[in-house]
C-alpha cells in the first residue's frame, strides 16, 4: 500500500467526506482527483499544473453502487462519485449505460476513471451526463454550506460550488426503452463529437433525453421530450407519422454546438437531428416487434 508522507501539503488524501470538504476549502488551489485519468494527462500535456492534488480515493463512503436489486428492469440505484466506470459497467444498471461506458473509454481507463470525475467539471464531450439526463438522475454534493441534492438538469446548468465535493448520483426506477448513440471519429473508445441519450418509460408516460458534445455542457432536450410525450398515443404506444423527425428537429433546436477541430456546428446540429429521429424510429420498431 502506498503511504504518502504527511510532511508535504501537496498531496492531500482525506479519508472522510468532512475532511475532504475542509481540505478543499483550506486548499482551493489543490486540484481534486478522482481516478486521475484526465487530471494527470492534463499535467503531462502542460494544460494544468496544479501545486497540489486532493485525492478522493481514500474516502470509502464515496465508492460503489447500491441498487434495489431490480436494476435490469429499471430499479432505482445510488452510484457513489468514486465508483469506477468499470464498477458502473459491471452493475449493469441500464442498456444505455452499457453502450455509453463501453464506448467512452478503454478497459484500462475504466478501471481508474470515476463517475464523479466524468461529470463534476461538466465538460461537454464527456459521456455520462447526457445519459444521466435521460435517466432523470439526481446529483448529491456536499460543501462548506452543507449537503444538497439536485436534479441532474440543475447540476448540468449550475455545477459545483466553491469547496463542494460531488458525493453520488441517484437513478430513479425507470423502465422501458433506454438507448445512447453517438457520432465519433471512430468506433473505438474516445470522446464523441455529438451524442444523444433517450429514455422512454411507457408506464410513466415519460420521455427524457440528454444531448452531448453540442453545447457548453450536456443539455436536456426538454422541448423535444415534452413534444413526444404529448404526441404519442400511450395506450397503444403509437408514434404519429412525422413525430420522430419533429423530435430530432426539436433536439437540434435545443443545441448550442461549437465549431472546433473535430466538427462544425452545422454538422453537430445535423447529427443530433438524425440521431434523435432514428432513436424514436428504433423505439417504434421495437414496440411493433413486441
Amino acid at each position: 500500500m502506498t503511504v504518502t508522507s504527511t510532511d508535504s501539503g501537496r498531496i492531500v488524501r482525506p479519508t472522510s467526506l468532512e475532511e475532504a470538504i475542509a481540505a478543499s476549502t483550506e486548499r482551493p488551489d489543490a486540484r481534486i482527483l478522482g481516478g486521475g485519468t484526465l487530471v494527470v494527462a492534463e499535467r503531462s500535456l502542460g494544460i494544468d499544473i496544479p501545486p497540489a492534488y486532493l485525492l478522493l480515493s481514500g474516502i470509502a463512503e464515496l465508492r460503489g453502487v447500491t441498487s434495489d436489486g431490480a436494476t435490469a428492469t429499471g430499479g432505482a440505484a445510488r452510484i457513489g462519485a468514486q465508483t469506477t466506470l468499470r464498477a458502473l459497467l459491471d452493475a449493469a444498471l441500464s442498456p444505455m449505460l452499457d453502450v455509453a461506458l463501453r464506448s467512452l473509454a478503454t478497459p484500462q481507463i475504466r478501471h481508474r476513471a470515476t463517475v464523479g470525475g466524468n461529470i463534476a467539471e461538466r465538460r461537454p464531450a464527456h459521456t455520462l451526463a447526457p445519459c444521466l439526463l435521460a435517466l432523470d438522475a439526481s446529483v448529491g454534493s456536499a460543501g462548506p454550506e452543507g449537503s444538497r441534492r439536485r436534479s441532474i438538469r440543475d447540476f448540468a446548468a449550475e455545477g459545483l460550488g466553491a469547496g463542494e465535493i460531488l458525493v453520488d448520483v441517484a437513478l430513479p426506477a425507470r423502465g422501458g426503452f433506454q438507448r445512447f448513440v453517438r457520432v465519433a471519429p471512430r468506433n473505438g473508445p474516445g470522446y464523441a463529437i455529438a451524442s444523444v441519450a433517450v429514455s422512454i418509460d411507457p408506464t410513466a408516460r415519460s420521455v427524457r433525453s440528454g444531448i452531448g458534445g453540442s453545447g457548453p455542457t450536456a443539455l436536456p432536450g426538454t422541448a423535444a421530450d415534452d413534444f413526444l410525450a404529448g404526441a404519442v398515443d400511450w395506450e397503444s404506444g403509437a408514434v404519429p407519422a412525422g413525430a420522430a423527425e419533429e423530435y430530432g428537429r426539436l433536439l437540434a433546436d435545443a443545441c448550442d454546438p461549437p465549431t472546433d477541430d473535430r466538427a462544425s456546428a452545422g454538422y453537430r446540429r445535423h447529427a443530433i437531428a438524425v440521431m434523435g429521429r432514428r432513436l424514436i424510429e428504433a423505439w417504434n420498431e421495437e414496440q411493433q416487434r413486441g
Binding site: 501537496r10 485519468t37 478503454t106 478497459p107
Partner: protein, 157 residues
C-alpha cells in the same frame, strides 16, 4: 529538500519499495521506469491513450502514465513480474510468438498484461471480444491481426 518531494511506498511484483524523494505529481510509470529500473513498462503517449504503459493493479490493467504514484494503493505487476522467473514464457506469450506478426515490439509488454487480464475474463473469446477488450492497446506498426489471433488463441487454452 523542498515540499514538492514526497515519500511513498509501492508494492511492485511482490516486493515493497520505499521511495523517499518522489515528486508529488510523479506518475506510477515514472517511478517504475526511472526509480525502480523496471523499463519493461513502456513510455509513449503519457495521456492514457495507447496502453504501452499498461500494468496490473490488483490484477486489473491500468495505464501507469495517468496514475499518480501517490494514489496507487495495491499490488502492482509489471511485465517483469508477470513473466516467469525461470525465463520461460506464459501460454499467452507463447501464443503471441506463434501468431508472430510483431515488428518493433514496443507495444507488447502492455499487450501481454492487458491480454492476460482479458483472457482471465473471456475464456474462448471471439475475435470481436478480443477487438473490443483490447481496444486500450495500440500497435503503431499495425500488427493487429497477429496480436488479435494470439490473444484469441491463448484464451482457448
Amino acid at each position: 529538500m523542498d515540499d514538492e518531494r514526497i515519500s511513498l511506498s509501492l508494492r511492485v511484483n511482490g516486493a515493497t519499495h520505499r521511495i523517499e524523494d518522489a515528486w508529488y505529481f510523479e506518475t506510477l510509470l515514472s517511478v517504475l521506469r526511472y526509480r525502480l529500473g523496471l523499463t519493461g513498462t513502456k513510455q509513449a503517449c503519457e495521456t492514457g491513450s495507447c496502453g504501452a504503459c499498461t500494468v496490473l493493479l490488483d490484477g486489473r490493467p491500468i495505464n501507469s502514465c495517468v496514475a499518480l504514484a501517490a494514489d496507487v494503493d495495491g499490488d502492482v505487476t509489471t511485465i517483469e513480474g508477470y513473466s516467469p522467473a525461470d525465463g520461460s514464457l506464459t501460454p499467452l506469450q507463447e501464443a503471441l510468438i506463434a501468431a508472430g506478426d510483431v515488428q518493433c515490439g514496443y507495444c507488447l509488454p502492455g499487450m501481454v498484461l492487458a491480454g492476460s487480464a482479458f483472457i482471465e475474463e473471456h475464456p474462448n473469446a471471439t475475435e470481436d471480444e478480443v477487438r473490443e477488450g483490447m481496444c486500450g492497446n495500440l500497435c503503431r506498426c499495425t500488427a493487429y491481426l497477429g496480436i488479435i489471433e494470439g490473444i484469441r488463441e491463448a484464451s482457448a487454452r
